[in-house]
């Protein structure tokens, strides 16, 4: 009995919702379509509740560190920057219906911490890509040489400087991007969907149970 409610019913639920949504995508039928639409809204409302788990566990991790007097500064900073905007934003939202996207204090935190953080870390890729290129672009084997040559030609074509070295770079890079690159990208996409179909069937039949934490069973 316990196996039924702990394992079999969730699998059935998953199979049912998946087939229902697939049918909605393929078939035009007003009742089906409107129920499927409601189900998608319901699923995203339900998924939001997982936040309770994550926020609680993150808070617990850092309060424990504070109790053990480890990483005091970092944990204090994290807890303050997590809870003050969260509580204030929720308070404003539930009392006055002020959306957090326009609430001045929450926006201040966003503009002062989150937004510069986003741009900074996105831009740190400039350093990492340079160092990765330095290490990776070595003619170690036939394959690595193909990678290197394709990479360098495209790089040269994209910077103004390449065109002044040789006017053929843009044409050559156009060929690389449209022929081998498009072939490669097409295959990555095709093979991903082929494997996904098989994975979904495995999940719906209950052979793949990694998502319910019982893969080892």
């Amino acid at each position: 009995m316990s196996r039924v409610i702990k394992r079999d019913i969730p699998i059935l639920l998953l199979t049912f919702t998946a087939l229902f949504q697939a049918a909605d995508t393929l078939i035009e039928e007003p009742t089906l379509n409107s129920y499927a639409d409601s189900m998608r809204s319901a699923a995203s409302i339900i998924g939001t509740f997982a936040l309770i788990l994550s926020v609680t566990l993150l808070t617990r991790l850092h309060t424990r560190r504070l109790q053990r007097r480890r990483t005091i500064i970092e944990s204090t900073v994290l807890l303050i920057s997590l809870w003050i905007p969260l509580v204030w934003g929720l308070w404003q939202f539930s009392m006055g219906g002020v959306s957090p996207t326009i609430e001045p204090f929450v926006q201040g935190v966003f503009n002062g911490i989150v937004s510069p953080g986003d741009s900074t870390i996105y831009a740190i890729l400039a350093f990492f890509i340079a160092s990765a290129a330095y290490r990776a672009f070595r003619a170690r084997s036939v394959e690595a040489t193909i990678l290197l040559v394709a990479g360098i030609i495209v790089m040269l074509a994209k910077a103004p400087i390449g065109e002044s070295i040789w006017s053929g770079f843009p044409i050559l890079s156009d060929w690389i991007l449209n022929v081998p690159n498009r072939a490669g990208v097409t295959v990555i996409i095709l093979s991903a969907i082929l494997a996904s179909i098989a994975l979904y069937v495995r999940m719906m039949l209950g052979y793949e149970r990694g998502w319910m934490g019982r893969a080892a069973e």
Binding site: T101, I102, S115, P116, D118, S119, Y122, A123, A126, F127, A130, S131, A133, Y134, R135, A136, F137, R138, A139, R140, A144, L148, I152, M155, L156, K158, A159, P160, I161, G162, E163, S164, L177, N181, V185
Partner: protein, 291 residues
């Protein structure tokens, strides 16, 4: 697939200069990148830009040939991260529209893009809602949620939002007088600025209403936009380079042109580094005797 990472670190102790360069501390590479990008920003070098790409040229010509008071819709979808690439292009295109007396309707499809619209209007006009032509030629609708659903509602009915970003009623504005259909059929061009995706704009504006689409997109998005070019997407700006080209075409070189110097130098530095790395690799390989 076997790659090269950890294995590289494990190679033998080096002796010659070339071999030392092979295992150079990555922090020197970081420092080099920082310096190389900083120089042209502090002191622009004015390196030649090269030829202007076809996609940029087509977009410029299209806007140049629009009759006055045509409606151009600008969809801002750039977050702070994508803004470096997209914002100069948005400013340059808006400047061009202002010169040509076109009507420009702004809206943001993500909340983070709202300040960039404001910034764009201030950069070009010197003011946003207080400018005398605001409400006549330029309107900012602010944030319209739910991407595709929001755009589809706006395309079907231009008064979908009823007020602009500052709370003024749309119906009273001169901008919306004499609109034949009130749908996207009246629009001459819809331009998407951002880094996420252009498919939804084409789907909602071009497929049902035939309004041409253009883009000012990050370099990563180019391969996704190409399938629509040049039939549905009539032209687009590719990353910072596209923005720089448009700035040159409008005749007002700005931050994107200056950025291209940094770009050129950085590319050159990376290519030189790759060459040095390869020479070092072959020299050390010969020494070990495996070559």
């Amino acid at each position: 697939m076997r790659g090269g990472g950890w294995a590289v670190q494990q190679s033998e102790k080096s002796t010659s200069l070339w071999e030392k360069l092979q295992e150079i501390d990555v922090r020197y590479i970081y420092l080099l990148v920082w310096i190389v990008v900083s120089i042209p920003i502090l002191k622009p070098l004015g390196l030649p830009l090269g030829s202007i790409s076809e996609e940029t040229m087509l977009l410029y010509d299209f806007i140049d040939h629009l009759p006055p008071r045509s409606i151009v819709v600008m969809i801002a979808d750039q977050g702070p991260a994508a803004a470096t690439e997209c914002q100069p292009g948005m400013v340059a295109i808006f400047r061009h529209c202002v010169e040509k007396d076109l009507r420009v309707l702004f809206f943001a499809s993500r909340t983070e893009a709202v300040p960039f619209i404001e910034q764009c209007m201030i950069d070009v006009l010197g003011a946003s809602k207080d400018h005398p032509d605001y409400g006549k030629l330029y309107v900012n609708l602010g944030f319209i949620p739910q991407y595709e659903i929001g755009l589809s509602a706006l395309a079907a009915n231009i008064f979908y939002t009823t007020t602009d970003a500052y709370g003024n009623s749309l119906k009273s504005m001169e901008f919306f007088k004499d609109l034949p259909t009130g749908t996207a059929k009246d629009w001459s061009l819809a331009i998407y600025f951002g880094n996420s995706n252009v498919d939804w704009v084409v789907r909602q504006v071009n497929d049902p209403y035939g309004c041409p689409v253009a883009g000012g997109v990050g370099a990563v998005l180019v391969s996704r936009i190409y399938p629509y070019y040049p039939q549905q997407v009539i032209g687009f700006l590719t990353g910072l380079r596209g923005s720089a080209e448009y700035e040159v075409l409008v005749g007002k070189p700005g931050s994107a042109v200056a950025g291209m110097d940094a770009q050129s130098l950085a590319h050159l530095a990376i290519i030189i580094m790759i060459i040095i790395g390869n020479i070092g690799y072959f020299v050390s390989k010969r020494r070990i005797g495996g070559f």
